[in-house]
């Protein structure tokens, strides 16, 4: 990676006897959207808090923008924005007053403050309700207000912890668009979530957490390659059984890594490239009648499920 803004080396967090984060290593490049995935309690939030210096590091080290968050927390927190899991605001004061308070804490001078606050509210489309008390806000509006705070800070890194959990689909879509907007401004985004389809939509790379370790990391299609044996899935339906052994012919197509047969007339291919033309040709050459040729890119969901299934199988084998 040319310009890593976050690096973790052997980062570990222990509470008394339990290890919550267990020696993880990763790097995030500038302008990247990096997804932290994994079940609840896998150590995502703890990792985030260590990056911000909000919790102590037990072992290893983490650097944000080249700074140690433990030793230079103010410098790190001045340049890194954080949207906590289900963020809260002071309900009895207005949205603008809430941002004004944090703007003061950020050390933004009184002459710039009103302009920057309004600008941030406009960008998350909350300027109409700037003077309404936050008590009246929906969950989606609160999340957007939290994002406005990051914009207000002009953060170079935005760390978003479960930003879309509990939002309705419309609010989720809007929020993800705003995250993509951050990327256009070359802000590095670290997104933690367990909602896989959303992560897949916006993230450049993902890291899959499992009980405090990163078990998989990389681009989604790379992971698909690794876990599913291919980044693409091709479904083939044939009308009549082919004369010759279609399954072995399909398997012989270069790039196909697995062929599954469902019933008599349906095949599913996993492949490292788009093999539709070859598959169609193979069916026809074998004398079959092609009735359906489906295609999908591997979803993170499938990778995730397959990974944990494999794990479970591996686990039981180990036990036996």
């Amino acid at each position: 990676m040319s310009d890593p803004v976050i690096t973790a080396r052997g980062l570990t967090k222990r509470y008394r006897n339990t290890t919550v984060v267990d020696g993880i290593d990763f790097e995030v490049g500038r302008g990247e959207i990096f997804g932290l995935l994994g079940p609840n309690g896998a150590g995502k939030t703890t990792t985030i808090l260590m990056m911000l210096g909000l919790t102590e590091v037990s072992a290893g080290e983490v650097r944000a923008l080249g700074q140690d968050p433990v030793r230079a927390p103010l410098e790190v927190k001045r340049r890194v924005g954080y949207l906590p899991d289900s963020v809260g605001f002071y309900d009895h004061i207005t949205a603008a007053e809430n941002l004004n308070y944090t703007a003061r804490l950020m050390g933004i001078g009184p002459e710039e403050r009103p302009g920057r606050v309004m600008n941030a509210l406009e960008r998350v489309r909350l300027h109409d309700v700037a003077n309404k008390r936050v008590a009246t806000f929906s969950r989606g509006m609160r999340q957007r207000l939290g994002l406005a705070e990051i914009l207000l800070k002009r953060a170079e890194i935005a760390i978003l912890d479960e930003p879309t959990s509990g939002l309705d689909p419309q609010a989720t879509r809007e929020f993800l668009e705003m995250i993509e907007g951050l990327k256009r401004e070359n802000v590095t985004v670290l997104l933690s979530s367990h909602l896989l389809d959303q992560v897949q939509r916006v993230c450049d790379r993902v890291a899959l957490f499992q009980s405090g370790r990163i078990v998989l990391m990389g681009r989604v299609n790379e992971l698909a390659q690794q876990v599913l044996g291919g980044g693409y899935l091709v479904d083939i339906d044939v009308a009549a059984p082919a004369g010759v052994d279609l399954e072995s012919r399909l398997r012989d197509i270069p790039g196909v890594t697995a062929v599954n047969r469902f019933g008599q007339f349906r095949y599913r291919l996993a492949a490292s490239r788009d093999v539709r033309p070859d598959a169609a040709r193979a069916v026809v050459a074998a004398g079959g009648e092609l009735t359906h040729l489906g295609f999908e890119e591997a979803s993170l969901d499938a990778i995730y499920n397959r990974y944990f299934q494999n794990q479970a199988k591996g686990g039981s084998r180990d036990a036996a």
């Binding site: 808090l49 927390p73 804490l105 050390g107």
Partner: protein
């Protein structure tokens, strides 16, 4: 290694925000109305009582604070009772309130240290209480001038101002206790109940208990019992134990400062009175010397409780 930047960065902002919260909160208004009403009732009684003795008393203003007429206690008696309640009311949800509103991690992700948040909250509470006490003081003085028609002398004003500072130190103890509990207990209701429980224990139960404990530790000697006198050892222990309660310390301070004729706090032997002009007042400096250990005790109590809270807060996890 020194940490970067000032621990007090953002302190002013936090103080201003908390002050404005206190000043506008319904909780504070109710408490203020309560205090003013009760104070006026007790003052009214005191003024009636004092009218008869106006000509003889050189410290009329101070009498306004201390004279009681049945069934109401004196003004200072009421303050000694109400200050803890108000201080607890201001402090019991200082930190756990931020936790429960889920604002804590968001605020601490701004470029400030935890010190600023905690000290800011404490100082804002103390300033609020100071303003309240000052207003009450002005009301008492104004009321006295209006109803009694005697302008206060320099020493009276000086003594009553010292009293104001002592009352502030007393506020500090309870505020620090309430904030410590708000850090230790995640539920605001628990913190409030425990604070009120401690207050009840120290005001109502501890005076009786200290008496009983003193008799256990140092049983009454027979030679004093025969004379119908309490034994010195028992009395000494009782005073020591009773002084563990801030109420006792506050009461003794008030006695020494507002009643210039007070020559000693606690037991005194006849031979110590030799040469004293009993009934004549001491100068302010001497009264201060008498009350000094108690004043130091109150300030020390505040510091100890605050430091305990500080340590607990620094080690606390911010995640909800």
């Amino acid at each position: 290694m020194r940490r970067e930047g000032s621990a007090f960065q953002g302190l002013g902002t936090v103080i201003l925000k908390e002050l404005s919260d206190h000043m506008t909160s319904a909780r504070m208004r109710v408490l203020e109305i309560l205090v003013v009403l009760v104070a006026f009732a007790s003052l009214y009684g005191a003024v009636d009582q004092l009218r008869d003795t106006t000509a003889e008393d050189p410290f009329l203003l101070l009498k306004l604070f201390t004279v009681a007429r049945d069934p109401l206690p004196s003004f200072v008696g009421i303050l000694g009772f109400l200050i803890p309640i108000i201080a607890i009311g201001l402090g019991f949800d200082a930190i756990n309130g931020e936790h429960n509103r889920r604002t804590l991690s968001r605020i601490l992700a701004q470029p400030i240290y935890r010190d600023a948040l905690l000290i800011g909250k404490f100082l804002a509470g103390l300033i609020t209480l100071g303003i309240m006490l000052l207003c009450l003081w002005l009301l008492v003085v104004g009321f006295g001038v209006l109803r009694l028609g005697v302008p206060p002398g320099t020493e009276e004003v000086a003594r009553s101002l010292v009293f104001l500072l002592v009352a502030l130190a007393y506020c500090g103890v309870w505020l620090a206790l309430a904030m410590l509990l708000s850090i230790v207990f995640r539920s605001a209701a628990t913190a409030a109940l425990i604070a009120l429980g401690v207050w009840l224990f120290l005001t109502l139960i501890w005076p009786m208990l200290s008496q009983a404990l003193a008799q256990v530790i140092s049983p009454p000697e027979i030679r004093y019992q025969l004379l119908g006198l309490p034994s010195p050892g028992t009395i000494e222990w009782q005073t020591i134990l009773a002084r563990l309660s801030p109420n006792q310390l506050f009461g003794e301070c008030v006695l020494a400062i507002l009643s210039p004729a007070t020559r000693a706090l606690g037991p005194i032997y006849v031979e110590q009175l030799q040469g004293a002009v009993v009934g004549s007042g001491l100068p302010l400096g001497q009264s201060l010397l008498i009350a000094w250990p108690q004043i130091v005790g109150l300030v020390a109590g505040t510091i100890v409780l605050f430091v305990a809270g500080y340590v607990a807060f620094q080690r606390q996890e911010v995640r909800a």
